[in-house]
């Protein structure tokens, strides 16, 4: 097995630059998820690795081979498409055998490879069927089977779960993780869904507008987002961001005059410096406390066990989302006390970049 290295990849379509210098190193056997909003270039990046798009400049190295100029079939990759892209006139067996047949592999070798993949994916019973007779989840499995049969060095997945319903998506997510544990093949997985990214990835690459915003383990990105975009992209509901200015005694003044305590920063801020304070909806502490601020509840989204409570400040200029256990204690219009534990705050400068806390 082998790692993958993308070096300063750039790609333009006409005058539009879609990839603006992307470098990623995927270690051998690692499950890397490229995530980002639509139009960020993540699919183009994946297609470039597959060889379906030609990079304007930059290199793609698989193992120790520079594959930048090689045809897709020579790169040692297999790809699973969002639409599955099964061959409709061929049986499941022939769909999975197609690549080996093209490579003129030995009949027995083909049979062994196809049956092995079918066993891994639990689709032995479907081998004689045509794709039209399969459900969405089964088609997805066949598409993955076709990839496994090729015994690739790298698996490429292009939004493979987007076409499935929510229930199946959760199950297939689990199966992807299971499959990766079983096969241990280096994997590059593209999605716009942050939940898939958080649950599947060893490492997340967050892409925006053709550039990498941050790379790291899901935990790293969640706990120490490099900027406001990353902070708000991961986690639902989104992180609350409130504009403030640095005040005396390690505090910050919000726009409406309220003051809250800040965590100790690696580089202390001069009084009056503008900054943004971020806090995740489940980090807000509710209840009486010496430091507590008073809010009124504007709106409650009840999700069953949990509720997202939208809080308004005194003058209504600060809106915060707060995630609580829904035990019927709260109602719209109620007044509520909230504290912001300094250790759980995220601070960003005027350019939206993270301000390091002491110890980070």
């Amino acid at each position: 097995m082998t790692g993958l290295s993308i070096r300063d990849a750039r790609k333009s379509f006409g005058a539009t630059e879609v990839l603006k210098g992307v470098s990623i190193d995927v270690a051998d056997g690692e499950f890397t998820v490229i995530v980002g909003p639509s139009g960020c270039g993540k699919s183009t990046l994946l297609r470039s690795v597959a060889g379906l798009e030609e990079l304007t400049s930059g290199h793609i190295v698989i193992g120790d081979r520079d594959v930048t100029d090689l045809a897709p079939s020579e790169r040692g990759i297999a790809m699973v498409f969002q639409s599955y892209a099964l061959y409709p006139h061929l049986s499941v067996y022939e769909n999975m055998a197609f690549g080996l047949r093209i490579a003129k592999a030995d009949k027995d070798a083909i049979d062994t490879a196809v049956r092995r993949a079918a066993t891994i994916l639990n689709i032995e019973a479907l081998l004689e069927r045509k794709p039209a007779a399969l459900s969405g989840g089964q088609r997805q499995r066949v598409a993955i089977g076709r990839a496994i049969v090729r015994q690739p060095q790298i698996f490429l997945f292009d939004e493979p779960l987007s076409n499935l319903d929510a229930d199946l998506r959760v199950r297939m997510r689990y199966e992807f993780a299971e499959l990766h544990r079983k096969l241990g093949t280096t994997t590059l997985y593209v999605t716009h869904d942050q939940v898939e990214a958080m649950t599947l990835a060893d490492r997340i690459v967050l892409l925006r507008d053709g550039r990498i915003e941050q790379t790291g383990s899901p935990r790293e990105l969640y706990e120490r987002p490099a900027n406001i975009f990353v902070a708000q992209f991961l986690g639902t509901p989104r992180m609350n961001i409130v504009a403030a200015t640095a005040a005396e005694d390690g505090r910050a003044a919000l726009a409406n005059g309220l003051r809250i305590a800040l965590p100790p920063l690696a580089k202390p801020l001069a009084v009056g410096t503008p900054l943004s304070i971020g806090i995740r909806p489940d980090d807000i502490a509710i209840g009486e406390a010496p430091d507590a601020l008073t809010f009124s509840i504007r709106f409650i989204e009840r999700l069953g066990g949990l509720a997202t409570v939208h809080l308004g400040g005194r003058e209504g200029d600060v809106m915060l989302a707060c995630q609580l256990r829904d035990d019927g204690r709260f109602d719209e219009g109620d007044r509520i006390h909230a504290t912001f534990p300094p250790a759980l705050l995220h601070l960003f400068d005027a350019d939206d970049q993270r301000l390091g806390k002491i110890g980070e």
Binding site: P72, P88, I102
Partner: protein
């Protein structure tokens, strides 16, 4: 409700009868004795059915030769048309090359020019190439019909790119993709196109009349027309000739009708 369904069936049957009546009478007359159909009022059935007209047709008139010419020209026309039209339509739909859309727009624009206008220039061209009065000359207009290219292209557009990319990743060359992935998917439209070209070239009268001077090379419609000038009064022989002309394509069409219809329908539903 039942009444309405029956009335629809009855109406359809009536229309079908009106359509098929001339064909039936054609067969009937072809089996009549010489001069029988010229009586007034013309009889519906032959008094004593005879194959004399067919004997005359295949014997003295030598229709076997023309039948052979027609089968040869139409079969070759169909094969060549498929050979050139399918790859062209596929390329216009799925391959990236410079000027693709501009060339395609030009082709489509050329569709509005009636074929008859092109006949004289085409004739002169073929004359220069020395193809006048040959089977090859009769085949040329069928080689790459714009309508066929258009048909194949439109159908190819409905094939998702990802499927072709999957095949590319699987290591298939462009020719293998065309042969092993695209062609099987195109089957209905290929049958439709083949039938269309075969029927059109089989029934074509104008072009073979212009390009073929030698009687030995005549296709059925041209030969029958030439014959009708000589035997104006012989309805029975004429009808026997018409049967020989119509029957093969009728059988072909009925045999392939299922695919033909599914081709037309798929195109429209997916389009």
């Amino acid at each position: 409700m039942i009444l309405r369904r029956w009335s629809v069936t009855l109406l359809a049957a009536l229309v079908a009868l009106l359509t098929i009546a001339p064909l039936l009478w054609m067969v009937s007359v072809s089996l009549m004795a010489r001069g029988e159909a010229a009586q007034f009022p013309p009889p519906l059935w032959p008094a004593s059915p005879t194959l004399e007209n067919y004997r005359e047709l295949f014997g003295n008139f030598g229709v076997g030769r023309f039948l052979f010419n027609s089968i040869l020209v139409s079969t070759l026309a169909t094969a060549l048309a498929l050979l050139f039209t399918i790859p062209a339509g596929y390329a216009f739909a799925k391959l990236r090359f410079k000027g693709r859309d501009a060339i395609f727009r030009m082709l489509i624009a050329a569709l509005v020019v009636p074929g008859q206008i092109g006949m004289l220039p085409l004739f002169l061209e073929l004359k220069a190439m020395g193809l006048v009065n040959s089977y090859a000359g009769a085949l040329v207009p069928w080689l790459a019909g714009i309508f066929g290219i258009f048909l194949v292209r439109q159908y190819c557009l409905s094939i998702p790119d990802e499927m072709l990319e999957a095949a590319r990743i699987d290591g298939a060359t462009e020719t293998q993709i065309l042969r092993r992935i695209v062609l099987p998917i195109l089957t209905p439209i290929i049958v439709t196109l083949a039938l269309y070209v075969f029927l059109s070239s089989w029934n074509d009268f104008m072009w073979p009349l212009i390009i073929l001077a030698d009687q030995q090379l005549y296709t059925l419609p041209v030969a029958l027309a030439a014959n009708s000038r000589q035997n104006v009064q012989d309805y029975e022989i004429m009808m026997a000739g018409a049967v020989v002309t119509t029957l093969p394509v009728l059988i072909l069409f009925l045999a392939l009708q299922r695919y033909y219809l599914s081709g037309l329908l798929t195109g429209s539903v997916k389009g």
